[in-house]
Symmetry: D2
Subunit: 104 residues, 4 copies
């Protein structure tokens, strides 16, 4: 993850994109890419969506959309100085208190 | 990242949430959390947004929203069988060909 | 619709919110409200979602989210000088050519 | 607005799209279209975004995206049996109580 963050930062720097990569702009770009991901799934039935990765072309498009979402999320977190893995673990710590396990 | 994926999977399994965690539902949840992240930034000027992490309360909320986005993204990728780091590197390989570096 | 547009404009003007209501900020707010709408539906099965308006509390929340989405969409269109009804009819004219009717 | 709702309903019926137009699917499609709208604005400065309708090509794309958002919002409301104008006025009634006017 740190390596991915560094690569995306270097990629943006090499293209002088830092000026565009403000928190607001990156958050908008993230939402735009999530919209493209939704578009891949929106007309599928739940069953079709559950088997979507068996269709090679759809699978490639979905991997591409997941990558775009990840890249903007990682870049936004980098610009804001947030460690995504660390903050996710902290949130899961909270969630474990909020949502008790099922009793079986 | 693999550890985070495994923890989120165990968290969902312990609560019998697998039935809710379909690709469509998780994509909707991801979009919902991105919406909450946007809401943290939407009325700020670009300058205010650039300094938002200096405000401790706003910073805590933004870390929490970034965590929620990450958790649903990681969970969705896990359900779809996609390695987010690998697919992001593959996309960056493509992007390096599509977008030439700035000449300086 | 024109009456609604005028009311929302007067509402914003009376609160000196014009300075916040830039196209980018309103587009972010629109996406944020759509996220809240998704959150109302995300964990429901298709059948549950199809009957959601029969649950009075859920129906009230959904009407409220649809109102928030509409208000920001109408406001954004007003700021951009776009007539939503007219542009929607123009798009439907195009869509009628793109998507032929089912033959029965 | 009622005319637009009726036209969109007839358009969907003529193509046998009713089966796809579930509340969840339409909410996802709405979010997808909002994502495309955000993408038109995301890299612009606030000043550029404020003047975006003076660029004829960008203006056409934005009108098209606003139309797509409107069409899915109107269709979703129709499927849910919600009158968007009425519920927006009811929300503005509430908002007028929640947010007092500026004192000048």
């Amino acid at each position: 993850m740190n390596e991915l963050t560094a690569r995306i930062r270097a990629f943006a720097d090499a293209r002088d994109w830092g000026v565009y990569h403000t928190p607001k702009n990156l958050a908008m770009a993230l939402a735009g890419e999530v919209g493209e991901l939704l578009a891949e799934l929106q007309w599928l039935t739940p069953e079709e969506a559950g088997a979507v990765m068996e269709d090679q072309e759809a699978a490639d498009r979905i991997r591409g959309e997941l990558a775009d979402v990840t890249i903007y999320l990682v870049r936004l977190a980098d610009v804001l100085g947030v460690d995504l893995v660390e903050t996710s673990h902290a949130k899961l710590d909270q969630n474990e208190l909020r949502f008790p396990r099922s009793v079986r």
